[in-house]
């Protein structure tokens, strides 16, 4: 192998400029692939992180995936039911205390129960449609992402006495209300109740900032005339990836729909997979172009070195040796290009990580491009480059290996 390496080296070193161009081609391909992967992966990670941080990992609601079976359907294989008038159940998770006690026993994380009630918030003649969310402030603080988004006040202020409410700053500005003002909440049952604003939050999500109002659970229950009821349980897990398993178990035990964050965002996650496929297809295309450069130089070398191939064969080198020689030359160019590509890719990625920009919508936050530093990107780009180089080297190598030495020697003499 050492001998093959030596001969390969003399060939590629003998065509310095062409080799350099081929190496630069691979390096640019590898470098930009690494930078692109870092940027794309960074964007994806950032997106998923925000998704995981802002959403409950598992959300249990008072819904069921399929309509409740009639008792007759459970007993008989075939049952025909007609003229059915289903009872108008009051919505809510039945026996919430037992359900919460059961979750408390084994859930690897935290959870908070809520009562979400549709309603309208009024202030000085203005109205905004809102979800009035009844919470336990202490538990809610352990699962809600809003905790870190308070502009003024906090969930704790809800327990300070009286009827207090925390609303989004966008809702407050639409109502023209501020901290300390008293607003009126009207439920879908037509009940009204006054609340004093004790906190303002800004999450950056318009639906939340404009449409959510947090009150104590008991106040929401009174407002919606559903004493002791809850209709949501939000679970935050220590390991977000365990969400599907936990959701299945909760749903099986409680009988209510439990949705893991992956299920809730299935289409988005699928879109990310498609995006990755597109990205790696582009990487492969870049490497293919780089491969043409390698193919070109190896083809030229095999053409120029036809006589040397004949000599080596006459000395006792086999076709496999010839193939190995020229594939090695291709891989050597690919390897050298990959090394320079690593440096280039690192530099571009580093430069991208330094880019600051201002979010135009708010003009308040300075942020950077999300970058993922992963060795995997370097390895994938290198594997693509080496694979492409090996194929680019193999095609002319196979032709060279099949050259008939007698034809070449006769031609030379």
């Amino acid at each position: 192998m050492h001998l093959i390496l030596d001969i390969a080296w003399t060939h590629i070193a003998g065509r310095g400029r062409q080799t350099f161009v081929a190496i630069v081609g691979v390096a640019v391909g590898v470098g930009f692939s690494i930078a692109m992967a870092a940027l794309m992966q960074g964007g994806q990670d950032d997106f998923v992180r925000q998704l995981v941080d802002t959403m409950p990992h598992v959300e249990v609601s008072d819904e069921q995936r399929s309509a409740r079976r009639q008792p007759a359907e459970a007993v008989f294989e075939v049952a025909a039911i007609s003229g059915l008038r289903p009872r108008d159940d009051r919505r809510g998770i039945i026996n919430p205390t037992a359900a919460q006690a059961w979750l408390e026993e084994w859930i690897p994380g935290r959870f908070a129960a809520r009562l979400n009630a549709e309603g309208v918030i009024r202030y000085s003649g203005r109205e905004v449609g809102a979800v009035v969310i009844g919470i336990d402030p202490e538990r809610e603080a352990s699962v809600s992402p809003i905790v870190e988004d308070f502009r003024e006040g906090s969930f704790d202020a809800l327990t300070a006495g009286g009827n207090n409410v925390v609303i989004g700053d966008t809702m407050a500005s639409r109502l023209g209300a501020g901290l300390g003002d008293t607003i009126t909440a009207v439920s879908s049952e037509g009940l009204t109740r006054n609340f004093k604003i004790v906190g303002l939050f800004h999450t950056g999500t318009t639906a939340r900032d404009e449409g959510e109002a947090y009150v104590l659970a008991k106040n929401a229950q009174i407002l919606s005339n559903r004493p002791n009821a809850i209709n949501r349980i939000s679970i935050k897990l220590d390991d977000p990836n365990a969400a599907p398993t936990i959701a299945r178990r909760v749903e099986a035990e409680l009988g209510y729909k439990a949705v893991a964050w992956q299920e809730a965002n299935e289409s988005i996650l699928e879109a990310l997979v498609v995006r990755n496929v597109i990205m790696y297809t582009v990487v492969a295309a870049i490497m293919l172009v780089a491969g043409f450069g390698i193919f070109n130089i190896i083809s030229t070398i095999t053409h120029e070195k036809a006589r040397d191939i004949a000599i080596m064969k006459s000395l006792g080198f086999s076709e496999a040796d010839m193939r190995r020689l020229f594939v090695l030359e291709g891989v050597a160019i690919g390897g050298a290009g990959s090394l320079f590509g690593w440096a280039l890719g690192f530099s571009i990625t580093y430069a991208l990580s330094l880019v600051h920009f201002e979010i135009a919508a708010t003009g308040q936050e300075m942020t950077r491009l999300p970058i993922a530093w992963s060795m995997l990107h370097y390895l994938i780009a290198t594997a693509s480059a080496l694979g492409s180089a090996a194929i680019a080297g193999y095609l002319p190598a196979r032709r060279a290996a099949h050259l008939n030495p007698v034809d070449i020697i006769r031609g030379a003499t």
Binding site: H2, L3, I7, T10, H11, G14, R307, D308, A310, I311, M312, K313, S314, L315, G316, F317, S318, E319, A320, D321, N404, P405, V406, I409, R410, A412, T413
Partner: protein
Amino acid sequence: MTSLIETTDLTRILHETVPVTLVRDVTLNIGEREFVAVTGPSGSGKSSLLYLLGLLDRPTAGTIKVRGRDAEPMSEQERAATRLANIGFVFQFHFLLPEFTARENVEIPMRKFARLSRAEMRERATTLLSSLGLEDHLHKRPDQLSGGQRQRVAVARALANDPPLILADEPTGSLDSRSSEQVFAILEALVNQHGKTVVAVTHDLDMAARMHRRIHLVDGRISEEEGANPEF
């Protein structure tokens, strides 16, 4: 005398638009320590016969045995290995690898054969080149050597793995008379002093006359043979 190469009804036909018969029904037996000249007019099949004997080409019909082993069923790899261990080629043009020095060129077959350590290979290459009067040219590349010197490096390379058989295709054809004489003397010494078998294609009838055995080809057939070993 042991047979080194044995051919039976060896035929090589080039299947082109019009089939061309290069070698026809050649039956030969070449033993150890023979110094064989293959002569004949241009196009008579001398070089083609040499390439067949050296397993560089495959016959259309007939058999070749190298040291009693039939070459026909050998794979391409086995044929290459047989060449590496048993046959050294010297061509009309030196055919040295231009990027390597004289000594490195001689080392290449040894490195491929991988029977010696690198130090031993270096020493053997130096000894071979020195014995051919090239001790001052070990580190020169082919383009820094004269035609005669290059051909002597090619002879040293052919001897690198100590093969019993040297096949030379007009080894003096491109040399001046002085260099030709030097190269011929080396080939002669290989047979007489080192016990090698040399089969050389040549146009030079005077040179052929000084060899032990002469095979004359016309139109691919042996038309005349002198000095054949009676043991065969």
